[in-house]
Each structure stands twice: as structure tokens, then as C-alpha cells.
């Protein structure tokens, strides 16, 4: 009966060997397609998600997405290096005060296309927040930020890459004209004078810090 066991014997070592032989090839020709983005995200200075849109199923669950964001944040928040290869993807990023903007694409994607989307993402939100790119202002204008993100990318396709066009499409409310262009009367006529005062304070603060 013992002869039955003959074939069993080699398996462990052989299997392991065959498995490892399959090399992990990178590169390759890009399939011509409009789908060029995997994700857009804005994180705060603790790496928490303020906004994140995923456009393919690289990370199917919220848990995996957040784990990815945390890892990405840990790799990027200290060195402001603008671009990183991360988990087999190309991520371009930009930060200001307490906000981190990310654009993620496949590792074969043209890095400059990703960078152009990042610029549009950042600049349009900067215009919406009246150059006040920090967490508080972002949260106060979350509706417009959502709309801007929606206008920049639709399901992974770059919809618009010109920040001015994006801001125009988002069409912020009339009272959101930059403070400098508002008359005092208008400012006082606003429903929420406290808010105006606060945003004025903020602006002064940031202009001093710069």
C-alpha cells in the first residue's frame, strides 16, 4: 500500500516553485479608452476622508478604500513630492495647510494627464473657496465642492480639465462673490453677518501666513 504515496512527495516544493515563476510584468500597451482615472480624494491633515470618489473596482469596499487612503496619506504627508508610485498605481498629489488633494490613475497612465486633472481639481476648489484652501472653508462649501468634483470626472472619464469652466458650471450662489468685490452694504445685507466676519478674519490670517 505504501507505494500509493509515491506521487505525493514532491508536491510542496514543486508547487511553490511553479507558482513563483509567474513573473509580475509591468508596462504594456494602454488600451485606448476615455477611462483614465481610478479615484479622486481630499483628505484632512490626519488622513481622514473629506471626499473620495472611486471610479473602478480596485477597492470594492469602503474598508479597503479607507485603508488605501490611510496608507497613501502616511506615505505622502511629510514629503511634498507631488507624485508617487503606490500599490501599483500612480498617485499625484498636492497639499495646502490642512488639506491633501489626490488623483489616482493606473501605473500605465500618462502622468501628465493625471497632473492636469489634479491642477484643475485644486484650482477650481481654490476659486470656489476664494483662495481659502483649508479644511474649514471646504466644509462650509461642501455642496459646491461636491458639484465641482462631479463636473471634473464622470465615472472615471475626465469631463472637464479647465478650472474656470468647472467653476462656471458649478455656478456658486450670488452671495458667494469674493469678499473684495462685495460692497459693505451687500455684506451687511447678508443673512449671516457672523459668517462674513469670520471669513474676513480667515482671509487676513492666511494672507499674513503666506
Amino acid at each position: 500500500m505504501s507505494i500509493v504515496f509515491l506521487p505525493i512527495l514532491f508536491i510542496h516544493s514543486m508547487r511553490a516553485y511553479n507558482h513563483v515563476k509567474i513573473a509580475n510584468m509591468d508596462g504594456g500597451i494602454l488600451e485606448p479608452s476615455l477611462y483614465s482615472l481610478k479615484a479622486l480624494a481630499i483628505l484632512d491633515n490626519d488622513g481622514n476622508r473629506l471626499l473620495a470618489k472611486y471610479y473602478d473596482d480596485t477597492f470594492p469596499t469602503a474598508k479597503e478604500q479607507k485603508a488605501f487612503e490611510k496608507n497613501l496619506f502616511n506615505k505622502t504627508h511629510r514629503a511634498n513630492a507631488e507624485i508617487i508610485m503606490f500599490e501599483g498605481m500612480t498617485c499625484v498629489y498636492k497639499s495646502n495647510v490642512d488639506l491633501f488633494f489626490y488623483v489616482v490613475g493606473s501605473s500605465n497612465e500618462n502622468e501628465l494627464i493625471l497632473a492636469s486633472v489634479l491642477n484643475c481639481f485644486y484650482d477650481s476648489i481654490s476659486q470656489i473657496l476664494r483662495k481659502n484652501v483649508e479644511k474649514r472653508a471646504l466644509l462650509d462649501n461642501m455642496d459646491a465642492v461636491f458639484l465641482a468634483t462631479d463636473e471634473i470626472c464622470d465615472g472615471g472619464i475626465i469631463l472637464e480639465a479647465d478650472p474656470n469652466a468647472v467653476v462656471q458650471k458649478v455656478a456658486v450662489r450670488n452671495d458667494d462673490i469674493p469678499l473684495g468685490e462685495q460692497t459693505v452694504a451687500q455684506a451687511l445685507g447678508n443673512l449671516n453677518p457672523e459668517k462674513v466676519l469670520q471669513s474676513a478674519k480667515e482671509q487676513i490670517k492666511w494672507s499674513l501666513l503666506k
Binding site: G27, R49, K169
Partner: protein
């Protein structure tokens, strides 16, 4: 005091975030406010933003809750507030996948889509398409066509991108919008142009001629959008790749002209495309390399990164082309972005001369600890190519690799290093001893079982052939004492190989193995017991069959199968050194247990394990293409799947066990009315031809589809199993069973094939076929049966031992002049293709500059006969001369193989 203050401040900040600690249930409660009249746009907008925020945070919302919130949201259509309306569109999109009955908003969205407010129209189209399925698409088709050619860019872009999303499920409908897309490409708006080009290509991507026309048209007529240019470059690159054309192609001229475009994005895309092409010479690469060189000194990190990464790719194939950039790359070594620095160094390693290796290696070691594992892997790969390029530097490189092995690192990184050392050992005999010594040291302290077993296997294979095999045994035996069961088992196998190969070590190995017979793990014990018994026989052919060239099956499957045998109390099981597939073995044993007989179970009835095949090319089903599908992972191999599929056909019972399945072979053009692929399944006395047919005409249903085959000499068509019905775009299979000729030496033939069927016309929209049809036929390409169809590839790690094991009994030898071959590589490729055997001991690779070579091939012939071939090749002025020696366990097999080449 300070602490207190800070705490207070943080608290304030937390309070300042209106979205902090938002409760999903509270927000869902708040959505009831939407039902109030009159609507307060500000308040509702705020609540809606909160809802979007909660969804965006990844909160799981149940279908009922979502539906309730969704219906509350629909009330907001009464308000004209632009922000509120736009937030609603986003809400509809976000909830379209979770809420029920979302189609309720279709008419409201259609109103907005065709309304006067331009800023509503684009987003409304996108929201509408997210809730539309194929059945409803008909009703909005007219509006979509209009929207594609709309004057407002936002509307046109929205319609174009949505069409692309829709084409994933409704390819046929969006196909009809090709004229509108064509018109939109001429738009002045750059984004519309880009989206239209993308859609146009997507619709036509299977029609090569149309794509060629598309590229040549738009490469002349200048596009405005840089994005569209990038897309066009990718399309052109794909065409060049498919046609296997080189730099002579007009497509290549177009890509090259893009190197002078004003946008950096386009220049880079073109450079990258040129670099990726296969048939490029150093001269074609030069202009691309020089623009990348310029980018290297850009102030933008992204541009530098892109340039270095691409140069790194060039360096893999054409290191000489990159040497011009060496100075720029040296400057990047100190770049603040570590990724750029690492890529620069590894590129330099590839392009640098032998003298600079030491200096660069020193420089790398200074920052190896700072970079991520991904980049460490890039460095290891660079070292791997260096090892191949400068074999004399192996000691420096090996030491570096050894020190990296000792450092911290993840599994992938360690695996890459081990692979690199193994590759170097295999290619460079001088590095073998040092490499094996490093690996021995590594397994002394290796946490990864997979790597340890892999290294032990390698030691077992390479160690016995070194001048002093005894020194490795200590390392291996240490594993037996210290490691887990899997590693111990591998170590036992490795020791046995030393015993089998080196006679002077035989006694010591037996002693060591006998100690393992007391192991706590059964696997280790069984292996040890078995090896001790085999080794004590002291017979070379036994050692060869059972130790040096083993079987490759998985333990689990085999054990399960054997268990079922034992359960039925069967005593006679004999097996010979075959390579069997697990699933097949299991099935065969099962069959055996069902039909109890006195005859012993024969392993020859079990299908062979297939060599890992290159990724199987599945034909994209139209409609699903465009997005990159994840490679399917299945435990069973392709052949096991086929076996299962065939077993499900009742008419094909009793043909025996499946021996081999060929690769699918297209026997029609891929763009014809009926698309047919043929797969040849070989059994011991039969051959089953499986025809996978797809009907690409949406106005026809085919019934009773069969393939008529004219049998070649000696073959006999036994049975046809029709495919009962073949509706549009649903693949179906029909089978033809052929009895193989009685004469064991006549095994090849050509079969002219005709597809026969009954056509019933049907309405393309409803798919409802007419009652009566008519018979029709369609001529297919011939199907050839070759020698390779009767042979299964088997890897023999120790060919010489197998060669002796089979013996000269049925040896046949002949000499051929292969005048049509001009190189040894070409000859080897053709021989392997004709015979369908597995090249062993890397004999398919010819060392450079050699004019003679010996190729070793091994396999199993139909019926379970071992087949070994030794081909001695010599290159001279008139071509390649080959002396072919065939050994096999059956005389007719030798004859078939010896005559296959002629």
C-alpha cells in the same frame, strides 16, 4: 493649563466641522424636511449635502432607507434653485445603485435634459443615464442623439460620456449613434472633441479598417484637444502593435510628429508610445529619448518622474540609447523625490559601464532603507539585469543581494531577491556556489514558508551537482530540526535528492532520512519512509523516476482521491511515474470505485497535469470590452474545466478520460456573420472536436447547429452532437466525435469543415423568431490534427536520468537537413511546435555565439507512453542540420515522433 487650552481649541474645531460625527440615521430622518412646502432651498440643500457626505464616507445604507430618502428627494423637483437641483442629480446618481424604483424620476430628468436651463441639461443627462437600463434606453434614444450634437459643450460632453457608460450594457443601441459622434468630433470645444473621439473609437474598435481610417483622418486634420491627441496616439500605437508594423508605418510618422506638439502631455505620450513599441531600432528611439532628456531637467517633479520612468523602460531593452542621458540622470540621483532618485539610479545601472557598477551600488546602499518596497523591487530587477550583463561582477552584486536579504522587507521584496539570485545561479555557473551559500544562510532565518521550500527545492536540484555537495546537507538538515511541517517535508525531499545523485553520500542520507521517520507530521514521515525504501534499492532508474524527476500533483486532491479508494477497500493500486492532474485523478478513481473490478487501478487512465499555459485568450464579448477585466482565478486548470464541460454531455460518456485539449483555434474571421472556434480534445481512442459558435446576426436564430467534417484517411466520424439553438450573441457549442485510426502510426490529417444549421429570421428588437426556417450552410476553414495534439508536455527536471530510465529499447535516430531555417532559435521554435513536447533543462535557450546546440524535449504520448527526444542541432552555411533521437516506451510512438518533422 496649556493642555486645557489646546483641548478646548480642538473641541472648538471639531464643533466647527458641521459634518463631524454625523449619524446616518439622523440625516435620513432629516430628509423628511424635503416633504415640507414651501421648500426652503438653503435648508434642504444643507441636508442634501449632509446626505451626500454620509454616502461618500462609505456608510452602508439599506435599500429601504435609501428608497425612502430617494422618494423624499424627488419632492425637491418642485424647487427651481440651481444648486439644490444639481445636488439632487448627484443624489440620484449616488443612490441609483442602492434605492429601488429609481426610474420614477425618468420623466423629470427628461424634462430637464430637454429644458431651457443649459446648466441643468448636462448633469441631468448624466443622472438619467445612471438610472437607465437597456430596455428603457429606446425611449430616450432620440433625445440622446440630439444631445450629442448639441451646441452647448457641457450637454454634448455629458451625452457622449454617458453613451460610453451605457455601451457597457447596451452596445447595440449606442452603436447606432456613430453618425452623431462623428459630427461631434468636429466641435470647437476641446473636451467635446476628446469625448467624441473616445466614443467613436469605442464603437468601431473591432473594425480595424475603420480604425485605421479614423487615425489617418484625424492625424491630418488637426485636433485641438491635447487629450484627444493622447488618445489618438494610443489608438495608433495599438494598430502598429496589432499589425506588427515597424517604424515604416504611416502611423509611426504620426506619432513621431507628435513629439513636436506644443503640449508637454502630448509630447510625453508620443515618447512613451515610441518606447513601448516592439519593433523599434535605436534610431527610431533617438528623438523620443532626446525629448525625455529635456524633461529630466524640468522644475516639475511629475515631468521628471515621467521622463525617468520611461527612460528606465527604454534602458531595459536598449540601454545604449539612454547613455546620452547619463549626465542628466546622475543629477537626479539626489532628487528630493525618492521615487525619481531610485528610478534614476536603476536606469544608470542598466546603462552604465562595468566600471561604474561599484560606485553606483555604494550610492544605492545609502538610501535603500528610505525607499518603499516597490522601489526596492525595481532596484532588485535592475541588479538582475546587471548580473546578466556583467557576469564578472557577480561577487559584488551577490554580496549586495545577500545584505538586502538580511534587511527588513516584505514577502514580495524577498521573493524578488530570491528569484534574482536563482536566475543568476542558473545563468552563471561561476556564481552558483556563492549564490547557493547566500541562500543557505537566508533559510537559516526565513519566516516565509514559500521561499524556504522553494530554496530547498533548488538546493535539492543544484546542490548534488556541485563539487562539494556534502556542505549543503548540514543546512538542509537544520531545517528538518527547526522548521514547520511544510519546510521539513521539502527538506526531506532535498536530502533524498542528494542521496539519489551522489553515491558516496547515499549512506549518510539514508541515516538522516531514517531519523525523520519519527517525525510528528505524517507528510514528513511518509516522505522519509518512502525515500529510505527507494534509496535502499540502490537502483538508478528507481531513483530517477521517483526522486530526481518526480510527479507534479497537488497533495490535497490526491489525498482526497486516495482516501476514497481506501474507503472502498481496494487493494490493487499501482502507479507509474506519470504527471497527472488532480481533478482528473480524482475523477478516474471515483469512476474506478463505482465499477469494482479485479484489475488494478492504472494511473495511465488519469489525465496529465497541463504545463501552466500562457494566459488564455478569451474573446471579448462585445459590450463588455473597454474596461479591464480582472483575471479570473480558478483553482482548476483550463483542461480540468474542459473535462468537466465534456462530462456534462451525455453523448460523450464512455470515450474515456480526457488526455489533452488544444488551444482554441479560430476557424472563421472574427468579424464574420458566424464566429467559430475549434478546440480539439484528445482521448485515448477518440478525438472530440468542440466548436464554440457565436451568431453575430441579431435578426437570425440558428437551430440544430452542427459541423460537418470530412474525415481524413483512417479517421471515422462517429457522432455529431448538435447545438439545439443559437440565438444572437449567445455562444453555444456543438461537438463532433471522431474515432482515431486503428493504425497507431497514422495520427495526422486535415478535416474540411462546414457549419450546417436551420435559419429562422427574427425581429432584432424582441428576439422573437419566425416559426419556420430554412436549411443553410457556411464553409469554415480546415481543421488540422497534428502530432502535437497527441502529446502532452511534461517537465523533466533531470532529463539525463529520465533518458536512462526509458532506455534504448525503442530508440529511433535520424538525421535531417532543415534548409529553411537560418538560425538555431528558429529551428528550436519550430521543432517544439511540431512535436508539442516540453523543453527541459532550459535547453530551448541557445547561448549566444554558439553554432551547435542540443535540445532536450520530454512529454507523454496519448495512452500514457513516455516520450523523450534529443535533437542535436548544428548550424552551417546551408541551414540547420539536425540529428534527432527519440526514446519512448512504445515503438509506434517513437516512429510517429521521428517522422513528425519530415
Amino acid at each position: 493649563m496649556m493642555m486645557l487650552k489646546r483641548d478646548k481649541k480642538e473641541e472648538e474645531e471639531g464643533g466647527g466641522n458641521p459634518f463631524n460625527n454625523l449619524e446616518k440615521s439622523t440625516v435620513l430622518q432629516e430628509t423628511r424636511t424635503f416633504n415640507e412646502t414651501p421648500i426652503n432651498p438653503r435648508k434642504c440643500g444643507h441636508i442634501l449635502t449632509k446626505l451626500l457626505y454620509v454616502i461618500n464616507q462609505g456608510e452602508n445604507i439599506g435599500a429601504n432607507e435609501a428608497t425612502e430618502a430617494f422618494f423624499a428627494m424627488t419632492k425637491l423637483f418642485q424647487s427651481k434653485d440651481p444648486i439644490l437641483r444639481r445636488l439632487m442629480y448627484m443624489g440620484i446618481k449616488d443612490m441609483s445603485k442602492i434605492a429601488n424604483d429609481v426610474i420614477i424620476v425618468t420623466s423629470s430628468l427628461m424634462k430637464d435634459m430637454t429644458g431651457k436651463e443649459d446648466q441643468f441639461r448636462g448633469p441631468a443627462i448624466r443622472a438619467l443615464c445612471s438610472i437607465t437600463d437597456t430596455s428603457m434606453l429606446q425611449s430616450i434614444e432620440r433625445y440622446m442623439k440630439q444631445a450629442i450634437v448639441d451646441k452647448v459643450p457641457g450637454v454634448s460632453s455629458a451625452a457622449l460620456t454617458s453613451s460610453l457608460h451605457l455601451s457597457k450594457t447596451s452596445q447595440d443601441v449606442t452603436k447606432r449613434w456613430v453618425n452623431e459622434a462623428q459630427e461631434a468630433v468636429n466641435s470647437d470645444n476641446i473636451m467635446v472633441q476628446y469625448h467624441a473621439l473616445g466614443l467613436l473609437y469605442h464603437i468601431r474598435r473591432n473594425d480595424k479598417l475603420a480604425v485605421t481610417k479614423l487615425v489617418s483622418k484625424f492625424s491630418k486634420h488637426t485636433l485641438k484637444s491635447p487629450y484627444a491627441y493622447c488618445l489618438l496616439i494610443r489608438i495608433a500605437t495599438k494598430l502598429i502593435e496589432e499589425e506588427d508594423a515597424g517604424s515604416g508605418s504611416p502611423m509611426f510618422d504620426f506619432i513621431e510628429s507628435c513629439l513636436r506638439h506644443k503640449s508637454e502631455m502630448v509630447i510625453y505620450e508620443a515618447a512613451q508610445a515610441i518606447v513601448q513599441l516592439k519593433n523599434t531600432t535605436a534610431k527610431d528611439l533617438a528623438p523620443a529619448v532626446s525629448v525625455l532628456q529635456l524633461f529630466c531637467s524640468s522644475p516639475k517633479p511629475t515631468l521628471r518622474f515621467a521622463a525617468v520612468r520611461t527612460l528606465n523602460k527604454v534602458a531595459m531593452k536598449h540601454p545604449a540609447a539612454v547613455t546620452a542621458c547619463n549626465l542628466d540622470l546622475e543629477n537626479l540621483i539626489t532628487d528630493v523625490n525618492r521615487s525619481i532618485a531610485t528610478l534614476a539610479i536603476t536606469t544608470l545601472l542598466k546603462t552604465g559601464s562595468e566600471t561604474s557598477v561599484d560606485r553606483l551600488m555604494k550610492q544605492i546602499s545609502t538610501f535603500m532603507s528610505e525607499i518603499s518596497d516597490e522601489f526596492k523591487i525595481v532596484v532588485v530587477q535592475a541588479i538582475r539585469s546587471l548580473c546578466a550583463k556583467f557576469p564578472r561582477k557577480h561577487s559584488v552584486l551577490m554580496n549586495f543581494l545577500a545584505s538586502m536579504l538580511r534587511d527588513e522587507g516584505g514577502f514580495d521584496y524577498k521573493k524578488e531577491i530570491v528569484d534574482c539570485i536563482i536566475a543568476t545561479i542558473e545563468e552563471n555557473p561561476e556564481a552558483k556556489e556563492a549564490g547557493l551559500a547566500h541562500l543557505c544562510e537566508f533559510i537559516e532565518d526565513c519566516e516565509h514558508t514559500v521561499l524556504a521550500t522553494k530554496i530547498l527545492h533548488l538546493l535539492g536540484r543544484e546542490g548534488p551537482r556541485t563539487p562539494t555537495p556534502s556542505k549543503y546537507i548540514r543546512f538542509i538538515y537544520n531545517r528538518v530540526i527547526l522548521e514547520n511541517a511544510a519546510v521539513r517535508a521539502a527538506a526531506v525531499s532535498a536530502i533524498a535528492k542528494f542521496g539519489g545523485h551522489c553515491e558516496e553520500l547515499l549512506q549518510s542520507c539514508v541515516v538522516l532520512l531514517e531519523r525523520c521517520e519519527m517525525d510528528t507530521d505524517d507528510e514528513v514521515r511518509d516522505r522519509a519512509t518512502f525515500y529510505v525504501n527507494v534509496l535502499k534499492q540502490q537502483q538508478r532508474n528507481l531513483s530517477s523516476a521517483y526522486i530526481l524527476n518526480g510527479l507534479t500533483v497537488s497533495v490535497v486532491g490526491l489525498e482526497r482521491a486516495l482516501y476514497s479508494v481506501l474507503e472502498h477497500g481496494l487493494k490493487h493500486v499501482c502507479c507509474t511515474g506519470l504527471t497527472v492532474s488532480v481533478v482528473g485523478l480524482e475523477r478516474a478513481l471515483h469512476q474506478y470505485t463505482l465499477e469494482p473490478s479485479e484489475s488494478p487501478f492504472d494511473m495511465k487512465t488519469v489525465p496529465l497535469a497541463t504545463q501552466p499555459l500562457a494566459d488564455q485568450k478569451v474573446r471579448e464579448t462585445p459590450g463588455l470590452a473597454g474596461d479591464v477585466g480582472k483575471p479570473e482565478k480558478s483553482a482548476a486548470t483550463r483542461q480540468d474545466l474542459y473535462a468537466e464541460q465534456l462530462a456534462a454531455v451525455p453523448e460523450l460518456a464512455n470515450v474515456g478520460a480526457l488526455f489533452k485539449s488544444s488551444q482554441p483555434l479560430e476557424i472563421t474571421e472574427s468579424e464574420t456573420e458566424y464566429y467559430v472556434q475549434c478546440i480539439k480534445h484528445t482521448f485515448s481512442n477518440y478525438m472530440v472536436f468542440q466548436f464554440d459558435c457565436t451568431n453575430t446576426l441579431n435578426d437570425q436564430v440558428l437551430d440544430r447547429v452542427t459541423v460537418d467534417m470530412e474525415a481524413a484517411d483512417g479517421f471515422e466520424v462517429v457522432k455529431q452532437i448538435p447545438c439545439p439553438s443559437l440565438p444572437y450573441n449567445k455562444p453555444g457549442s456543438t461537438y463532433t466525435l471522431v474515432h482515431l485510426p486503428e493504425d497507431p502510426t497514422s495520427v495526422t490529417g486535415t478535416f474540411p469543415c462546414t457549419l450546417k444549421f436551420v435559419v429562422r429570421d427574427c425581429d432584432p428588437n424582441t428576439g422573437e423568431p419566425d416559426d419556420d426556417g430554412y436549411e443553410d450552410e457556411y464553409v469554415l476553414e480546415d481543421v488540422e490534427v497534428t502530432v502535437a495534439d497527441h502529446v502532452q508536455k511534461v517537465m523533466k527536471p533531470n532529463f539525463a536520468a529520465s533518458w536512462e530510465e526509458v532506455g534504448p529499447e525503442n530508440e529511433l535516430e535520424d538525421t535531417y537537413a532543415l534548409s529553411s531555417m537560418s538560425t538555431l532559435e528558429e529551428a528550436i521554435k519550430n521543432i517544439i511546435q511540431y512535436l508539442g513536447l516540453q523543453p527541459c533543462e532550459r535547453s530551448d535557450k541557445v547561448p549566444e555565439g554558439k553554432s551547435s546546440h542540443t535540445l532536450y524535449l520530454a512529454g507523454i504520448y496519448r495512452g500514457g507512453h513516455d516520450a523523450l527526444v534529443r535533437a542535436k542541432l548544428a548550424l552551417d552555411t546551408s541551414g540547420v542540420t539536425m540529428q534527432l533521437t527519440v526514446r519512448s516506451t512504445d515503438p509506434s510512438v517513437s516512429e510517429v515522433l521521428a517522422t513528425a518533422i519530415a
